[in-house]
């Protein structure tokens, strides 16, 4: 590049910045956001991202339901969330501006594509009068650019049709943002080469648009200066990549199967936001992974249980509505005592609810949502990268205890991203599955010290046996309706669940070992809770935090921890499901539920305000 960064305009340092790219769902905002993310990651920023897109594939162009957004928070210090309020809003049309303006920080920057603010555009977005003219944007720094026109001019010599030229708008916009935040273009230029390998015209056009946007920053003096967000130097040393929750979870499942020395058999049925796990695993055939897209959610889990019965690691991945359908089969897996991993990427319910929005409302369904006493361990990942670790943990518990395990993630984790410090493979502890082959003294429902029964592959000579969902006689596994035996078996299954506690750590408290408030979270609330508690501690408040990754059974040691705090605040994206469990498990402590069910994650500000409110009351 010939352009010297910041030669004419002042370069200011900023610690952290939040940008939200917003446009029509066909405008390529997710690509734009992901490119900005990749470049920032390689620059060494800590970061967190959150896409926000409609459930509709293409809602009518220019309308508010069709707005797709991508928020990135990048920083030179440790961060835990994609940021509460954007510093910069890139609005590609009036609908994007109208939908997102309310979130923008006071005095923030709005980059607006005036090329899409004609009367028809305003009408489609139901915006009247134009916000560009009615002074409603007076509290912001508004940068008006006719990106449609700029791209047209920049690509005047391109052989692409005028429609295809306009599709390069997002790269012009990205170039502009790269200039504003002093980012290099190389990562994206290379990505375009790779992406459109077979279409050199598209590579060239998009690269030209990117460079034109970048150069426009200097030439047109739209901005008062450039900013720089230096690399984050508090991140632990190691090798990193940026990762979203669902890809991390998929990799974790493959890793878990390797550590168990098993091949995966995934039974799945497409459902937002879990389908990406099916997509990703279906590309890992050379890892021995079998994926089967079944006819429905029930068939998906049944095929997975069949896989486990035959000696594979059965896995199924779904979301809330699918969990409801799978309930009966989960009960069979409990009764047959077979390993199985059930992944639930939670979304807003009930019923179809809001498929692309976040909620933590499947907790009670996961713990209790089956007929009969059907105890199952439930885990919850807390960050996108943690999805990797928790997927391994789910495989471990399933295999070591011969039990189905539910792993909860959610829509915030599945699509959000963060830098992932890559594990050293030698640090991953193996838990090789043991298959019984010795007929001597074999009993299908004998148990080892963990309470697990022997796993036998059909095809093993001398160990032929029959099992099913009817109650089984202890040890022999024969059908048995005896009263005392049923109580014994019910207690044995429960005891096996509780035995899982012996293999899970007591979570650590961050902050004072005794204080006025302990903030307890589980799942994806970790980010905003960490940010809010960190800030409270810096402000001298008497606050600490604890986070649960094993949500059922609960780990040992919590009772003693809870006894050191006056009040335990439990923020959840539900109406207090975990708080309800804690109240019944630890009735002597003072739990305070903080519910948010807007289809959106908590912000740091939300939790900070709640902590302050409690401390002041």
């Amino acid at each position: 590049m010939t352009q010297e960064i910041g030669t004419e305009l002042p370069l200011q340092q900023q610690e952290s910045v939040v940008i939200r790219f917003a446009g029509d769902s066909g405008d390529g905002m997710q690509i734009t956001g992901n490119q900005f993310t990749g470049t920032s990651a390689i620059l060494g920023n800590d970061l967190a991202t959150l896409p926000d897109f409609p459930a509709e594939i293409r809602a009518p162009a220019g309308t508010r339901p069709g707005v797709s957004g991508f928020q990135i928070h990048f920083s030179s210090s440790d961060i835990h969330t994609p940021g509460d309020a954007p510093d910069v809003l890139v609005a590609m049309n009036p609908a994007a501006l109208a939908v997102n303006l309310g979130d923008l920080k006071q005095g923030g920057i709005i980059v607006v594509n005036t090329g899409n603010f004609k009367a028809t555009d305003l009408k489609k977005a139901k915006v009247d009068p134009s916000p560009l003219e009615d002074h409603s944007l007076d509290g912001y720094r508004v940068i008006k650019i006719d990106i449609n026109e700029r791209v047209k001019m920049a690509l005047a010599d391109s052989p692409l049709s005028s429609k295809d030229v306009q599709r390069c708008k997002n790269f012009y916009t990205l170039g502009l943002m790269y200039w504003l935040y002093s980012r290099p273009l190389e990562t994206t230029l290379n990505w375009l080469e790779e992406k459109f390998k077979k279409k050199p015209d598209l590579v060239k056009a998009n690269q030209m648009a990117l460079k034109a946007g970048y150069n426009a920053g200097d030439i047109h003096e739209m901005f008062q200066g450039q900013y720089e967000v230096p690399a984050c130097n508090t991140m632990p040393a190691g090798k990193y990549r940026n990762i979203m929750g669902n890809p991390a979870l998929s990799l974790g499942l493959v890793a878990g199967a390797e550590l168990a020395k098993l091949d995966i058999l995934l039974g799945a049925y497409p459902i937002t936001p879990a389908s990406d796990i099916l997509h990703q695993l279906s590309n890992y055939k050379n890892f021995g992974v079998i994926t089967m897209q079944m006819e429905d959610e029930i068939a998906a889990i049944c095929a997975a249980i069949g896989g486990s019965y035959a000696g594979h690691l059965g896995i199924t991945a779904t979301s809330g509505p699918g969990m409801a359908l799978k309930g009966e089969a989960m009960g069979l897996a409990v009764s047959a005592e077979l390993p199985l991993v059930i992944v639930d990427i939670q979304r807003a319910g009930p019923s179809t609810g809001m498929p692309t929005k976040v909620e933590q409302t499947d907790l009670l369904q996961s713990i209790f949502g089956r007929n009969g006493e059907a105890p199952m361990p439930v885990l919850a990942a807390s960050t996108p990268a943690d999805c990797f670790d928790m997927a391994i943990e789910a495989c471990r518990i399933a295999v070591e205890y011969m039990t189905p395990v539910i792993l909860l993630s959610d829509n915030y984790l599945s699509n959000g991203s963060e830098p992932w410090m890559l594990p050293k493979l030698e640090d991953l502890k193996p838990f090789e599955a043991k298959f019984r082959t010795d007929p001597e003294g074999y009993q299908p429902y004998s148990r080892d010290e963990k309470g697990a029964r022997p796993w036998v592959k059909p095809g093993t000579p001398g160990l032929e046996h029959r099992i099913g969902g009817l109650e089984k006689e202890n040890l022999t596994g024969n059908i048995c309706y005896d009263a005392d035996n049923h109580e014994l078996m019910t207690n044995l299954r429960q005891a096996k669940l509780m035995a899982v506690r012996e293999s899970i750590p007591t979570p650590e408290v961050t902050g004072a070992s005794d204080a006025d408030v302990l903030v307890l979270g589980w799942g994806s609330t970790l980010g905003p809770i960490t940010s809010a508690v960190d800030k409270s501690i810096v402000a001298g408040k008497s606050v600490a935090r604890i986070h649960l990754r094993h949500v059922w059974p609960l780990p040992h040691g919590l009772d003693e921890i809870f006894s050191r705090y006056k009040l335990i605040l439990v923020p959840e994206n539900n109406l207090g499901q975990m708080a309800r469990i804690l109240k019944s498990e630890y009735p002597t402590h003072n739990f305070h539920s903080y519910a948010k069910v807007q289809g959106k994650p908590f912000t740091t500000t939300d939790i900070l305000a709640k902590i302050t409110e409690i401390l002041e009351s």
């Binding site: 055939k285 089967m292 095929a303 059965g314 410090m421 890559l422 969902g469 024969n478």
Partner: protein
């Protein structure tokens, strides 16, 4: 590598469990026929895998001394698909009933058939719900009086053969619980088929629907009320095999034995098989038994596992390190 397999006897496949069907139930004969047929297949008993759902027929696996999985209502085809794909070496069998297969399990059976998973399905059709004590089923005839239809059912029933043919089944056959010889033959034929084999068995429920098939299956009328369709054989029936059927355009007509067509279940088009399946509707016509359809098609479990072995062969067995340490990486010092 050749392994000598000690031949099995029927007794080898009898489990130590007490059989708990009602005295006189047709299931006993089916169990007996299956044990006899399977023992002679030359398959080691540890490779037999019976899968079932819920219902009287679904107790079947408990009585076979091999691997057995008694699962949940209607879902046996999905479990069997998982098991067979995880280990295509197994000889996987499903025992199911008309409610299990065509009511609650309707979705799964059609998908098993269309995928052509190498699984054998024995449908015990007694046109009634037995285990729940006597409600009409999706194969009960219109007007059937049962506990849940005191003035007669109004639902039009499924014809199991037509449903299987419509779902693209590659092997479709029918037999009867009171004809041990034919039942054994049909089970053997289904075992020899590569792909999903669907076998409907007229099964008598002595308690809730006794004699449902007497009009066609009773020994004294069977020869004239059924026609045994066998590949390459003339389509003849009657006490002395004196009657015949022939296909003319889109209908089936009766004729003399000499004029009868030769039956070919391997025809690329299922049209003739459909016509034969529909004969049940016509009281003047014999009900078809034997093999209605028998064609070759790609087999799901082999295709799925081939994609996996091909990928391993082409790319080598994947290394976790390559998967994790992939994409744009950076170092933090």
């Amino acid at each position: 590598m050749s392994v000598t397999i000690a031949p099995l006897t029927k007794k080898d496949l009898k489990s130590d469990q007490d059989v708990r069907w009602c005295p006189g139930c047709g299931d006993y004969a089916i169990l007996n026929a299956a044990q006899g047929a399977l023992a002679k297949l030359g398959i080691p008993k540890e490779n037999f895998m019976w899968v079932s759902g819920i219902g009287c027929s679904s107790r079947f696996p408990y009585y076979m001394d091999c691997y057995g999985f008694h699962t949940i209502h209607g879902r046996a085809p999905a479990f069997a698909t998982g098991i067979k794909t995880a280990n295509p070496e197994l000889s996987v069998w499903i025992a199911t009933g008309d409610g299990d297969c065509f009511s609650i399990g309707g979705n799964h059976i059609i998908h098993l058939l269309r995928r052509n998973v190498d699984v054998k399905v024995l449908l015990f059709n007694n046109e009634i719900y037995g285990l729940t004590k006597g409600q009409y089923s999706p194969t009960s005839p219109v007007g059937h009086r049962s506990k849940s239809t005191p003035v007669g059912s109004v639902d039009r029933p499924f014809n199991p053969l037509s449903v299987a043919l419509g779902a693209g089944a590659t092997f479709v056959a029918r037999t009867m619980d009171n004809d041990m010889k034919h039942m054994t033959l049909t089970i053997n034929q289904s075992a020899a088929h590569k792909g999903t084999a669907f076998v409907e068995i007229y099964q008598n429920c002595v308690i809730f629907n006794d004699g449902a098939f007497n009009e066609v299956a009773e020994k004294s009328v069977r020869k004239s009320k059924t026609i045994d369709l066998q590949p390459g054989q003339p389509m003849v029936y009657g006490a002395e095999d004196e009657k015949g059927l022939r296909l003319r355009e889109f209908h089936v007509e009766r004729c003399t034995a000499e004029e009868a067509d030769i039956w070919d279940p391997t025809d690329a088009s299922p049209a003739r098989a459909f016509l034969m399946a529909q004969l049940d509707q016509d009281p003047e016509m014999p009900n078809p038994i034997g093999i209605l359809r028998m064609i070759d098609a790609p087999i799901f479990d082999l295709e799925v596992t081939k994609q996996v072995t091909d990928a391993v062969e082409k790319k080598g067995r994947g290394k976790l390190e390559d998967l994790i340490y992939a994409g744009d990486l950076w170092d933090v010092e």
